[in-house]
């Protein structure tokens, strides 16, 4: 620690790398806090938790009794001076007493990524509710055909306000908060969908994991899924020699990132170049992958491949958007390389995942540790990329 601080003082280490190290050290020493306690306001188990994305302060919790609570993790409501523990009680809870409130178990909760004014919840009562944090009322309700297992909103989306919903139905639905209607249904899974995750690099790409053991990658601008992860595909094709070949079939398993790549190029506007030369980027974006990608996900052979033996219970991308973690009821955690879609075969210690609904995974900020719920404990796994 002292060495890092001194390095920062003289400019030998970058401020960011010191911050990374300090954070990593602290995450490694994670332990149950002896002086901070969140007092659950729910009468049953908690199914889903999320800290807000803007202030990293407010905790949203969805419980099996149909109630949802919001907690302030920074400012305690009172001090239990006898045992010197700061108690954090719920700022408010909403349950079935609220008009249109959930009547059955709340399976998934999510903050609106832009601010803490809204949050979204999904429940076994086949409803997805959009709540106003200030009035504690349901602003918008989406009816789903089956029990809702997973919802996801993209934290980088700039052009859409879609909530992806995974239910016991085989189809994934995209609900538009702007219009209040369901805009897309994505079909491909053969069983219910328990895990959903938007890409960290492209606002159009959605990853889903189903009870059929498949993980599918979707580009919501196009029909069908473009990739199905196969647990047995672990070899990356040898990079071709530039001079010798222009093998195109390689590119069939095209990089997911390519759509995001074209995103990244956009700001690189050259001064010397008249604006007409820069491609009308929207068309290019849609066309470009279309030309290069056939639909491996739609081909028969690929369509059957599975990522887990059993249901996929959780998906989580790493913070740099390069890797995807998945957990399944086969009690395995797998690490996938998103661009190539290959299984990296990092052999993580077996966990115990025996749930009947989706779970959550969490990755530390420096992508060094993965937190996996496992039976009665929380497993912390070194990622080792």
């Amino acid at each position: 620690m002292w060495r890092g601080l001194r390095g920062r003082e003289v400019g030998a280490t970058r401020p960011r790398s010191l911050a990374t190290h300090v954070r990593a050290d602290r995450v490694r020493q994670i332990n149950l806090s002896g002086h901070k306690e969140i007092v659950s306001a729910h009468n049953s188990g908690i199914n889903s938790l999320q800290i807000d994305c803007t202030e990293a302060r407010y905790l949203l919790a969805g419980a099996a009794d149909g109630s949802v609570g919001v907690y302030d993790t920074q400012q305690p409501t009172f001090m239990d001076s006898a045992i010197k523990v700061a108690k954090h009680e719920a700022l408010f809870t909403v349950d079935k007493s609220v008009p249109q409130g959930h009547i059955y178990s709340v399976t998934c909760v999510q903050w609106y990524p832009v601010d803490t004014g809204l949050f979204v919840t999904g429940s076994f009562d086949k409803k997805i509710n959009l709540w106003d944090t200030n009035t504690h009322q349901v602003e918008l309700q989406f009816e789903m055909p089956e029990k809702v297992h997973a919802i996801a909103m993209s934290s980088i989306a700039a052009t859409h306000m879609l909530v992806a919903a995974g239910t016991e139905d085989v189809r994934i639905r995209l609900c538009d908060l702007a219009s209040g209607a369901c805009t897309h249904t994505l079909s491909g899974h053969r069983d219910g969908v328990w895990a959903l995750q938007w890409s960290a690099t492209s606002e159009w790409v959605l990853y889903s994991g189903g009870c059929d053991g498949a993980i599918r990658f979707w580009d919501i601008r196009r029909a069908g899924c473009f990739q199905v992860l196969d647990q047995n595909r672990s070899q990356i094709e040898r990079r071709s020699n530039v001079t010798s070949s222009t093998q195109r079939q390689e590119l069939a398993s095209a990089p997911v990132g390519s759509s995001s790549t074209s995103e990244m190029q956009r700001p690189v506007a050259k001064r010397t170049k008249p604006s007409t030369v820069s491609k009308p980027s929207k068309i290019a974006k849609i066309k470009d992958p279309g030309v290069r990608r056939s639909h491996p996900g739609m081909t028969l052979a690929n369509d059957r491949s599975t990522a887990h033996h059993g249901s996929v219970t959780a998906l989580q991308t790493s913070d740099d958007g390069l890797n995807l973690f998945s957990a399944g009821t086969d009690s395995r955690v797998r690490l996938w390389d998103i661009e190539s879609g290959r299984n990296t075969l990092v052999n993580y210690e077996a966990t115990k995942i025996r749930t009947h609904q989706g779970t959550q995974l969490a990755v530390s900020m420096d992508s060094s540790l993965l937190f996996v719920p496992s039976a009665h404990s929380l497993q912390v796994i070194e990622i080792s990329l």
């Binding site: 620690m1 003082e9 300090v22 690099t201 001079t243 790549t261 690189v268 050259k270 958007g321 080792s384």
Partner: protein, 897 residues
């Protein structure tokens, strides 16, 4: 809190991070381009040395700097990328003599983890693309087409996550990069990739080399005909090109910078973390490398960049010490060093700590910084304004004016100093013993106050008193002639140059007299409506002995008027406004531009641009220099004319880039000033203060003065103690152990605040480091102490668990340890807090009181506050304490009894 602060940078960045050499401004002339944090400096290499051309500020911290030559062009262009993920390509515009932006853009990605080892920006030697490594796992490519235009950028996934260095290889059909990386087992390897611009992907490269030196950190691509790359490790240097492999062991060192000497890449300069400069020679037969050789050359500042210029001259850019221009000699000097330092460029960075002191007690603060790192550590005294170095001083009361005179017109040096008092005039001269003694000039009236005197043409002197104007032969010192003001008039104001005299007598009479050989001829007379307050006929035209313009400051209507000579016709009248009369007017020329300066009685100064032929005034500006009347005088220093404005805040007015600049002089109050360039005090000024006459030389005319006190060790904390007139610093000394390992020992040192000599030292324990130092006093104790907070940084501990607070008293210029107290953690900071001592120790803030126990003083804990992660920075005011935490932002505590 409604006020706004005006923040200005007193010192531009001095830390040299990058440099490169190429033909940027001209296809024939070599440039050295230096990046200093947010600025680039463009220098031209000339036969006489480096010539500074331009200093360009940029918006952003420079991350990488590369020169490259687009196909078909005769000059290089400059590629710069910034830490905030922006880049630009600059091209020299010969017409305007400034760089223009040829291309620019944003290379940020929305997600992605910024690299730990710094950003990498490289240009393909055949100019096909620019490569950037900004985020882990991503290699960004900006293609360059065959017209030299940049195309749309794209990312390529790089499987190696811990990249240490990436370089383009020479002589490859396709652009090829070599990647030096570390795998997750901490082993280091080099891998090559071909960049396929069409497919936007990597192809397999020509070679790879696994399991290198564990300290391998630098790749040097070798140009054709050899090709391949050199991999610099901590213990070995390896050359590999796919077929030829050569490795040599080296003395353990961490190489920080390299510079290529020959264009065929057979010699390289390497600089390590201790500033040792090495020459790496590749022996080859133009096709195959036969051997590698490393020779130590000598010591320089620890380099962050090396640029070989020409003829053995190398620019050593440093972040930790002064940057240097060195010459590599063929013969070693007596110390065995081939390095000769030609020039050194001040670098203040990294400033780790500083204190503001007023050492000369002039009300002018100075900053003393702990600068530099490792062996280049030093204290720097940064002073704003211009200092006067006092040479001699005499007590003299009631000075009313001062002029210096040469003994003859042909003399170079001034001999006489004429000092005028209310009813007499005294003449001081240098005697043979270089002492100032009183003398006499027979022709001068010493019984009256002198209003003006000057050396005139034909080897004559003029003296103006209230009653008369005298012309004196400079050789015989006899009066030649005298002009008397018609009674009952007396002369109030007078001025003269070599051949002209201008007098103002009461009632607004203006008299113009020309000086001939032994004659004074009244040429013109003008009656003005008001009294005259000040006059000037300093020549600004072509003729240095005559002026054709007169500036006159007026009472009553508060104006400055310009008259033409010899007719004394009014040609211009400028109303100053306000109610304060002009006290001093002065014609002067800076950088070939003529100005009229006019100072009024309340310390304000007007300046005008003057047209010397027509007498027109333009571009009026007003600034405030002080609160007292200002007397303006010109003086010369280093062959440039400057103006001295004597007042309660004496100021030197000078010009830079055709802009007038005002720099304060570090003197309290100056009533009169005249230049006194005598043989024994060359280039000096005579300064009349309240009750004192001082002769002194003036510093270089610039804003900031930096004095360096090299320590040879790294200072990290500093405190000043007014009572003992000393500084105390915590410092770290680096030395080499018997097995070449680096040893670090920490000291508390006492430094005298005038001479900056180390007078006393206190060695800390093994592994103990000084973290904080303050000067403070305690309740019920009149002594002032230095308190030092330390930490034991044991190699096996990530977080110090032991530290000390040491209390020192300065006695006879020595540090005496009075008390010490052991702490359970690093004492990151100390503060004097209401007669007690406030310490931030790891995660707690503790308050200690100074109590007497068994006749000795000890520190005793009074109260503490927990709940921080690391209380790194603490400041207190009154009962409030602000804590800056490592992770938990800032918290405010209050102390209650």
């Amino acid at each position: 809190m409604s006020g706004w602060n005006y923040v200005v940078t007193a010192q531009k960045p001095t830390n040299v991070t990058h440099s490169c050499v190429g033909y940027f401004t001209n296809p024939q002339e070599l440039n050295l381009i230096i990046a200093k944090c947010t600025r680039i400096e463009i220098h031209l290499l000339t036969a006489s040395g480096l010539q500074s051309m331009l200093d360009v500020p940029l918006y952003g911290r420079i991350a990488t700097l590369e020169l490259f030559r687009p196909p078909g062009e005769s000059q290089d262009v400059l590629f710069i990328s910034f830490e905030r993920y922006k880049f630009c390509v600059l091209q020299w515009d010969a017409e305007t003599g400034s760089p223009i932006t040829r291309a620019m853009g944003d290379v940020s990605d929305r997600t992605g983890r910024p690299t730990d080892n710094g950003q990498i920006g490289i240009v393909d030697p055949d100019c096909r693309l620019i490569g950037l490594h900004l985020y882990d796992g991503m290699f960004k490519v900006i293609p360059i087409d065959n017209k030299g235009q940049l195309k749309e950028a794209f990312n390529i996934r790089l499987e190696e996550l811990q990249v240490l260095d990436i370089k383009f290889l020479y002589g490859c059909a396709n652009p090829t990069i070599a990647v030096l990386y570390q795998d997750n087992k901490d082993a280091r390897h080099v891998k090559t990739y071909e960049v396929n611009l069409k497919e936007k992907d990597f192809g397999e490269g020509p070679w790879l080399q696994n399991n290198l030196d564990n300290g391998a950190g630098l790749l040097i691509p070798v140009p054709l005909p050899l090709g391949g790359a050199i991999i610099i490790g901590e213990q070995t240097i390896v050359y590999y090109n796919g077929s030829v492999f050569k490795a040599i062991p080296i003395r353990p060192s961490i190489t920080k910078a390299y510079g290529r000497v020959d264009s065929d890449g057979s010699r390289y300069l390497l600089s390590d973390h201790n500033g040792m400069l090495y020459l790496l020679v590749i022996s080859h037969d133009k096709e195959r490398v036969s051997a590698l050789n490393v020779e130590p050359l000598g010591e320089t500042s620890a380099a962050s960049t090396l640029s070989y210029l020409d003829n053995g001259v190398v620019f050593v850019g440093s972040s930790y010490g002064d940057s240097q221009l060195i010459r590599l000699n063929h013969q070693a000097d007596v110390k065995g060093s081939y390095v000769e330092v030609l020039e050194s460029f001040v670098n203040l960075g990294p400033i780790v700590d500083l204190c503001v002191v007023d050492l000369e007690r002039q009300g002018q603060g100075q900053v003393v910084t702990c600068s530099g790192a490792f062996k280049d550590g030093s204290l720097r005294i940064v002073r704003n304004g211009i200092g006067i170095n006092e040479q001699a001083s005499v007590e003299l009361q009631g000075i009313k004016g001062m002029w210096s005179l040469r003994a003859s017109s042909s003399d170079v040096y001034d001999t006489f100093l004429v000092v005028s008092f209310i009813s007499e005039t005294r003449i001081l001269a240098m005697n043979t013993d270089d002492e100032l003694e009183e003398t006499e000039i027979d022709g001068f009236d010493s019984e009256a106050q002198t209003l003006f005197c000057h050396n005139a043409v034909h080897d004559q002197l003029v003296q103006v008193t209230a009653g008369s104007l005298r012309l004196v032969n400079a050789k015989t010192r006899k009066q030649l002639t005298e002009w008397k003001a018609p009674a009952p008039m007396t002369i109030n104001v007078a001025t003269a140059n070599a051949s002209q005299v201008l007098l103002a007598t009461g009632g607004g009479n203006l008299v113009y007299i020309e000086i001939g050989q032994g004659t004074l001829t009244g040429v013109a007379h003008s009656q003005l409506e008001y009294e005259i307050s000040c006059l000037d006929i300093n020549p600004v035209g072509e003729n240095p002995e005559r002026s054709n313009l007169v500036a006159v400051g007026m009472w009553t209507d508060i104006s400055v008027r310009i008259f033409a000579l010899p007719s004394l016709t009014l040609i211009n009248k400028e109303m100053l406004g306000g109610e304060i009369i002009p006290r001093s007017v002065l014609f002067c020329s800076f950088d070939g531009l003529a100005y009229l300066l006019c100072a009024v009685g309340d310390g304000h100064l007007f300046n005008f641009m003057l047209n010397p032929s027509t007498g027109e005034l333009s571009d009026r500006k007003k600034i405030s220099l002080g609160t007292q009347p200002i007397a303006l005088r010109t003086f010369r220093s280093k062959n440039t004319t400057h103006v001295f404005a004597a007042s309660d805040r004496p100021t030197v007015i000078y010009s830079s880039n055709k802009k007038l600049l005002y720099s304060n002089v570090n003197l309290k109050e100056v009533n009169h000033m005249c230049p006194f360039n005598s043989a024994s005090f060359p280039d000096s000024l005579a300064i009349g203060k309240e009750g004192e006459l001082t002769i002194g030389t003036i510093d270089d005319i610039q804003k900031l003065h930096i004095r360096t006190v090299p320590l040879g060790e790294r200072p990290c904390r500093i405190a000043h103690q007014e009572q003992s007139r000393s500084f105390a610093i915590c410092s770290a000394k680096y030395s080499q152990g018997p097995n070449n390992e680096d040893i670090e020992t920490h000291y508390v040192r006492l430094i005298e605040d005038q001479t900056f000599e180390i007078t006393s030292g206190f060695a800390l324990d093994l592994y103990e480091i000084g973290c904080s130092i303050i000067t403070c006093s305690f309740t019920d104790d009149s002594n002032v102490y230095y308190c030092v907070g330390t930490a034991y940084a044991l190699p096996e501990e990530s977080e110090p668990t032991k530290g000390r607070i040491l209390v020192f008293l300065v006695e006879d210029g020595k540090l005496q340890l009075v008390a010490e107290k052991e702490m359970k953690g690093a004492v990151y900071n100390l503060n004097a807090f209401n007669g007690k001592l406030l310490a931030g120790i790891n995660q707690k803030i503790a308050l200690y009181k100074w109590t007497l126990r068994d006749g000795t003083r000890v520190l005793e804990i009074e109260s503490s506050h927990h709940g921080h992660i690391l209380a790194l920075y603490v400041q207190s005011r009154g009962d409030f304490i602000v804590v800056g935490d490592l992770m938990k932002s800032i918290s405010l505590l209050i102390y209650k009894k």
